[in-house]
Symmetry: C2
Subunit: 596 residues, 2 copies
Amino acid sequence: MSYTAPVKDMLFAIEHLARIDQVAQIPGFEDAGLETAAAVLEECAKFNEGVVAPLNVEGDKNPSAWKDGQVTTTPGFKEAYRQFAEGGWQGLQHPTDFGGQGLPKTIGAACGEMINSANLSFALCPLLTDGAIEALLTAGSDALKATYLEKLISGEWTGTMNLTEPQAGSDLSLVRTKAEPQPDGTYKIFGTKIFITYGEHDMADNIVHLVLARVVGAPEGVKGISLFVVPKFMVGADGSLGARNDVHCVSIEHKLGIKASPTAVLQFGDHGGAIGYLVGEENRGLEYMFIMMNAARYGVGVQGIAVAERAYQQAVQYARDRVQSRPVDGSVAGAAAIIHHPDVRRMLMTMRAYTEGCRAMASVAAAAYDAAHHHPDAQVRSDNAAFYEFMVPLVKGYSTEMSQEVTSLGVQVHGGMGFIEETGAAQHYRDSKILTIYEGTTAIQANDLVGRKTSRDGGQMAKAIAAQIEKTEGELTASGTAAALAVAQRLAAARAAFLEVVDFVAGNTKAQPNAVFAGSVPYLMLTGNLVAGWQMGRALLVAQAKAAAGEDLAFMQAKVATARFYAEHILVKASGLRDAIVHGGESACALPLEAF
Amino acid sequence: MSYTAPVKDMLFAIEHLARIDQVAQIPGFEDAGLETAAAVLEECAKFNEGVVAPLNVEGDKNPSAWKDGQVTTTPGFKEAYRQFAEGGWQGLQHPTDFGGQGLPKTIGAACGEMINSANLSFALCPLLTDGAIEALLTAGSDALKATYLEKLISGEWTGTMNLTEPQAGSDLSLVRTKAEPQPDGTYKIFGTKIFITYGEHDMADNIVHLVLARVVGAPEGVKGISLFVVPKFMVGADGSLGARNDVHCVSIEHKLGIKASPTAVLQFGDHGGAIGYLVGEENRGLEYMFIMMNAARYGVGVQGIAVAERAYQQAVQYARDRVQSRPVDGSVAGAAAIIHHPDVRRMLMTMRAYTEGCRAMASVAAAAYDAAHHHPDAQVRSDNAAFYEFMVPLVKGYSTEMSQEVTSLGVQVHGGMGFIEETGAAQHYRDSKILTIYEGTTAIQANDLVGRKTSRDGGQMAKAIAAQIEKTEGELTASGTAAALAVAQRLAAARAAFLEVVDFVAGNTKAQPNAVFAGSVPYLMLTGNLVAGWQMGRALLVAQAKAAAGEDLAFMQAKVATARFYAEHILVKASGLRDAIVHGGESACALPLEAF
């Protein structure tokens, strides 16, 4: 099943919702306007459609394999990765100082979606490398930067994030991996890390592991965790590769999905100690790791959008081809393609609306990231940073949860054929299941949304967003079309539900923590639903104006129809979520533990 | 991961909701009271926990395999099936005239849940055999009954349903398999059938295929379809097995789940014609097939409940064992078992409440089936038949859709471990995905609910159920406890939403078929949600009375807490569904086909 990058839809979001014209006014991004975006996206589409997408099914059938400590990736991956690196795709958003292209995330996020739609398993390697680059850029010494950044940004080497241990998953305070300081300023690292994505593979010459460990004598808990660089091969002063470091892949996992992506168990220090280099200061590792995590969380959210898009394309194709039953409205005399059936239409529209809504949300968040990091005005930076921080758990949590509903519908559209592995619809369903788990489960995102993003500022940012949504409602109402009014009405209802919940959350996190946190995931779902719906409303305003002007009529009318569908079928879930959150906290925790 | 049958919960539903005391007043069921139910369920639990459940993981790792037309089932299946047959489990609900035990479905359904929880793949073989038995009982000639029924009911032979062909899935009017009448009264059958569950295997001496085919010269469409018995081995007058019939398994499918269940492609008549025996009259095949289908649809609904229960048990176990993070309420000083965390509690409660609600609904439907088929009073029979018919799409559609949400939560509770196949949580997620597809997709169930079950009688049965629900609300309100009032309030709101939808559906099916059918699946979900919630309300009334009397306090309090959770977290979805159905029909079908 081929993949066609939705370049036009991405550019619509980039131009009209993320407002790339404003991003291009930021110093350093002068050349990164719409034209550049279009050119980069076209090139990126060509590469991913032609080189990466065809390997997706192969990766599922012929996963990465481990033998004697070596991991062999799916046939074709190594060559595709070489082309990826040579094309400069790893460096897209990274600083030109180290060989990157310095493009804004507003453009980079769309490219990220493409590679993930093309091949979720393949795309994970660059995604993790991005995280390692971010961590080194933020906290690495000049020496570390000089040694590693260019090679990572060029794609010559790849990066990993080593957080999880058997007893330490969501709870990193339980990390036990040990770092012993050496006289030469390096550390010897000992311990076991699990679930390490691309922790071992054959696609690059070196692997740069970013590892959380506890320096001997450090405080217990999260305040005693430091971050280290542990290269697979030692690196000489001239950048040449030296001896093998004492980090070894002892096995990889047999997983439900993303089978081509090797998930490694790494053993550090079984042969005398792995040599590690401290990143930043001792005991601040978790702080630095959160930089990697935040980049990766956004990236995983984009993975959700990406796999949803791929599942949607495949379902549409099947629905056009498969002939079965007469339409209920008698519009076709005999059996018709199932895309004529209202329930199939509802399923496809649900898939489409979710995907477009989350793409729009992610695109707007990316623009805020660019402003937060690069805008010359400090106030603008900090406003955008606060907005972006609020968006990260939504992009990660909501887009990945929706991807599971969308890929499930993708199987359902295929009927019995969907259950047959050769059809390929089931792969998306299996692949997507990891997205709500890694880089922080949905519950972890929801904790973040409740704690750091809502309660901490008494709900201020949440309410500021609600105020912006109200403004969009006003514009929709003023425009007066039936579609705009339908969306405005559902937005207003969902926003009212949201505000009730924000007051409940902000007001009760300390007094009734169980009740509030029992509603944390529903709160995340309500908020993601609303914010994506808001962007659909904004898209509708642009599209109906363009349609009225006769510009690209079919495309613009489809935008309007999809926005209306989103409002009438998805936004309407808000009131039920509100009720469950505000009134259901007690019953969620009422059953005594022994009664389960 | 072991399985413990929830015998106590099943008996609660059987005694207090399905009211087995009333079933036991029906002539022929005098001995099938609560005591019998308890004894049968205990025995059934022992068998399924001990013999069938341990084969579940093995079946996934080591699926049925095809070679040269033969299918070898998972090691252990053959012996377990022998014990199943010897235990008389196949005959549980079937007539004593043919060697069955003649027990009511009220008891049989609970046994069906157990074997499916134990092993969905294994249980499919008896499930399909039940369908074949039903069809022969209803429409088979005395000769066919004499030849096949005892052997099927004893479990010596197994049965299949041959409906689907490559071009004919949901749309059986497209069936092309051909039947040529022979001078001796038999038919020669030619054609290809796909997706035939246990179409070939090594667990029984003979396989009795029930096959839809078109007699040469029959009318086009569904009115020209007849039903045939096609045995794998010919059967002599004395019941002995003779020559191999011309039906051959040419391959089995490579599937997402239920891997141990062989899904066969069967080729009829490639070597001169398979000998078939007409069941009932020519051209009435679809009618008879619906008898099998209705039995099987109910059975698949029970599969949904069963896999949800198994996933719940596994998730609870993991949540008790896995230690991670401090509870937000400070109730434990250090890291605690994750069952202490509110979001994990919410997930487990969601799994539990859905499962209990659907079990209660299925149990009540089973009692209606018993009365519909066996009550001496014709009016009672027809009232119960109408109620049962309304329940079938709900039991099938709602219980299977919920099973996918529940098994997905089951993976989520496990975090990263859930994505690792060895953990076993992912198997339930994969297995459950077929349940919304086979024996009629959720959309097919929803069409049935809209067309035959709601529009045809102008919404009368739907409103009669609403009136019963209102009565339960009154009892809840009268009882005056906080839990009862909370449930009564949500039931009333959901019922109001339901009634709006019923009026919309009954009033517009002809005038606006697209709008109504676009809302058909949401209508099914709303109705299933409400009816299961109603049963939770009834359960609460019984349980709080018993708790007040000090009877089995912990169990009864858990019932009350679960019912309240169901109302506050699940019933509250009703209003959003109502809005989508009543107002979203147009937007669901607004996008032109070419715009997808």
